[in-house]
């Protein structure tokens, strides 16, 4: 009970533009679910179908056990926060917050109580008499959030609400939204293309590509075990290095030949990879799994040339080229420095490597500790 379920939901625009393709998703009651994906992957369309702003071509949307495909948006008891806030321009902040309640014929004292409470919670009590154009982006964002909260809906739908804010404000609003979710304990479906937002805010993330769901899971679970090369390349920044590779058998055992170098496969992966012997595939290794010192025998040396050095403060990101010229990223400690053009020996932690099938992009599963 109390959950939002999508069963085989599709959306086709016009006669043949498939925006959402047979999506199955269950958002549990009180859960913070993030829909993540690049522009045009269909995540916003999914949200808009849940809201009722877009008709469902096929499939069912079920809320709290009831099918809501044909229920009017106003009667779904959902509140949406838009990317560009969509405030009523000529209404004061108080007017914006109370409009929905007035339309629902909520008694006046109750409206006043809820508006005051919401304004206090969001720290906008002093702004109640102002018009939207007199507010900063962050303040408008809060009002938009307040307009959703004041209705105390069944669930909140966030359509990239942080993407119009500057980087600093976005970080602080992120924290506030997490806190707010803990306080309200209401279901939130948050759409974003920002993987940092997804990683930090979501209790679960649902990654979409070309209208389909590719993977659903806890953020760290998805980070550690991406289902395919797309997820691997999309999550985290800098994202996982994906290198064309061939899996070969040698006297020393199974090796991956990639980037002009030869990397032995850890023994624990040999059984899983054995069936792919001789095949081309894609090697995935995260920038943070390249080190300057080996920690165990599965840290394999790779000689690279330094292309660029990005000293970010907390860390240093190197772009280096492999012997065959392929450029990859390495994320090293903050004290690290290197000359551009110099030769460097890095150690790839093969315990944390991934191998994806070349054709399908699907990960070849391995047992991990």
């Amino acid at each position: 009970m109390g959950e939002i379920v999508l069963k085989g939901v599709s959306k086709i625009f016009g006669s043949n533009i498939v925006a959402v393709d047979n999506v199955d998703l269950t958002v549990n009651h009180g859960e913070f679910m993030v829909l993540l994906g690049p522009s045009g992957c269909g995540k916003t369309t999914v949200l808009r179908m849940i809201a009722g702003l877009e008709e469902v071509t096929s499939g069912d949307i079920i809320m709290d056990g009831k099918r809501i495909n044909d229920v009017d948006p106003a009667d779904r008891d959902l509140a949406i926060v838009f990317q560009n806030y969509a405030l009523y321009p000529h209404k004061s902040v108080a007017g914006n917050l109370s409009f929905g309640l007035k339309l629902r014929k909520t008694p006046k004292p109750e409206i006043e109580k809820r508006v005051a409470h919401t304004a206090k919670l969001l720290g906008i009590s002093e702004l109640l008499d102002r018009k939207p154009r007199e507010l900063s982006g962050g303040q408008q964002q809060r009002v938009a959030l307040g307009r959703a909260m004041v209705r105390q809906p069944f669930a909140y739908l966030f359509d990239e609400p942080l993407s119009n804010l500057d980087a600093k404000l976005r970080t602080s609003m992120r924290t506030e939204l997490i806190k707010l979710h803990q306080e309200l304990a209401t279901t939130i479906i948050h759409v974003t293309h920002d993987q940092v937002e997804a990683m930090t805010m979501g209790e679960r993330i649902c990654i979409m590509q070309s209208g389909r769901i590719v993977q659903i899971g806890h953020p760290l679970e998805v980070y550690r075990n991406p289902a395919n090369a797309f997820v691997a390349g999309f999550l985290a920044s800098p994202s996982m290095n994906l290198i064309d590779a061939v899996l070969n058998e040698t006297e020393a055992g199974l090796v991956i030949e990639a980037g002009g170098t030869r990397l032995p496969v850890p023994d624990s992966f040999a059984d899983s990879y054995g069936a792919h012997r001789g095949k081309t595939c894609t090697l995935g290794i995260r920038p943070e799994d390249l080190h300057t010192e080996p920690a165990d025998e599965n840290h394999v040396p790779v000689d690279v040339d330094v292309v660029t050095v990005e000293a970010l403060g907390p860390e240093t990101v190197l772009i280096v080229s492999l012997p065959d010229g392929k450029e990859i990223a390495a994320r090293l400690e903050r004290a690290f420095s290197a000359q551009i053009g110099s030769r460097l020996r890095l150690y790839a932690n093969m315990n944390l490597m991934h191998l994806f099938e070349k054709e399908s992009g699907q990960v070849i599963p391995v047992p991990r500790r």
Binding site: A86, F99, G100, L103
Partner: protein
């Protein structure tokens, strides 16, 4: 510099010339600048027997045509904004009247509304309604002229409002839909406030154009019957070319210009204050 000299020649020179003439007793019987009479023409203007009537008719005409054009125009624009198919077809139909020369509009409607030969009376006659003397009766002539002006000018209003409507953001409407607002409430609480700048420009332009209306009056009624449609621009025309008093007509033109400027600037400030 060439641009400036053209501007001087076509705008400033006629204005200055009219202003100069308004201070002289300059008539078509004696077209010379011998007799400087200062503000004499302006004083004389105030003694004109029918000036007040003409101003009143003009005011009624401007208010009636602009208000009806705006209300109808907004309704049509909102309807057209929702149309997805055959939009360009509707545009062409809608734009057609605006592309017709006002003199042609006047002639066309004069024929259509002719009390004995006009097709309008024929058609309403089929429904058993007695023929109406559209332009010959002082009571109907005014509204007939107003309706013809609306027919001619409404597409201007529709096009301007439609351009505004089609550029409005979608999200506030969706937010209102989620809040449970009806289309009527959306119109009042979102469309009108967001459209305010466009509405303001549309009203201001139509207001200025309506005060200057001359062509359809000249063609259809010559200000009559009696003074029922004697708009100020036609009144001035009569002073100049029937009364032959160019000096007096110039004085009235200058006064009208000042009046329009004053009203425009007042309206501009008034509408800007709505924020």
């Amino acid at each position: 510099m060439p641009g400036l000299s053209v501007l001087l020649a076509v705008v400033v020179f006629p204005l200055g010339y009219a202003l100069l003439t308004s201070f002289y007793d300059y008539t078509l019987i004696k077209p010379t600048y011998d007799n400087f009479i200062g503000l004499g023409n302006y004083r004389g203007m105030l003694e004109e027997a029918y000036l007040g009537t003409s101003l009143w008719v003009t005011l009624k005409f401007v208010i009636a045509s602009v208000v009806i054009e705006f209300s109808l125009g907004m309704a049509v624009a909102v309807a057209m904004n929702a149309v997805t198919r055959f939009k360009s077809f509707y545009y062409i139909i809608l734009l057609a009247p605006l592309l017709i020369n006002p003199v042609v509009v006047g002639l066309m409607w004069r024929m259509l509304l002719h009390s004995e030969l006009g097709i309008v009376n024929y058609v309403i006659g089929l429904g058993g309604i007695a023929p109406i003397n559209w332009l010959g009766n002082p009571k109907t002539a005014f509204w007939t002229v107003v309706l013809v002006d609306i027919w001619h000018q409404i597409s201007f209003m529709v096009i301007l409002l439609l351009a505004g409507l089609s550029s409005l953001p979608r999200e506030p409407y969706e937010a209102a839909r989620m809040d449970g607002a009806s289309p009527r409430l959306c119109f009042i609480h979102i469309t009108l406030p967001l459209m305010r700048p466009v509405i303001f420009i549309a009203l201001l332009l139509r207001f200025i154009f309506a005060i200057k209306t001359f062509d359809i009056i000249y063609i259809m009624t010559k200000g009559g019957p009696g003074v029922a449609t004697d708009l100020i621009s036609y009144f001035i025309y009569r002073a100049a070319f029937f009364g032959l008093d160019i000096g007096r007509a110039s004085a009235m033109s200058v006064a009208l210009l000042i009046l329009i400027l004053a009203l425009t600037s007042y309206l501009y400030r008034y509408m800007r204050s709505f924020k």
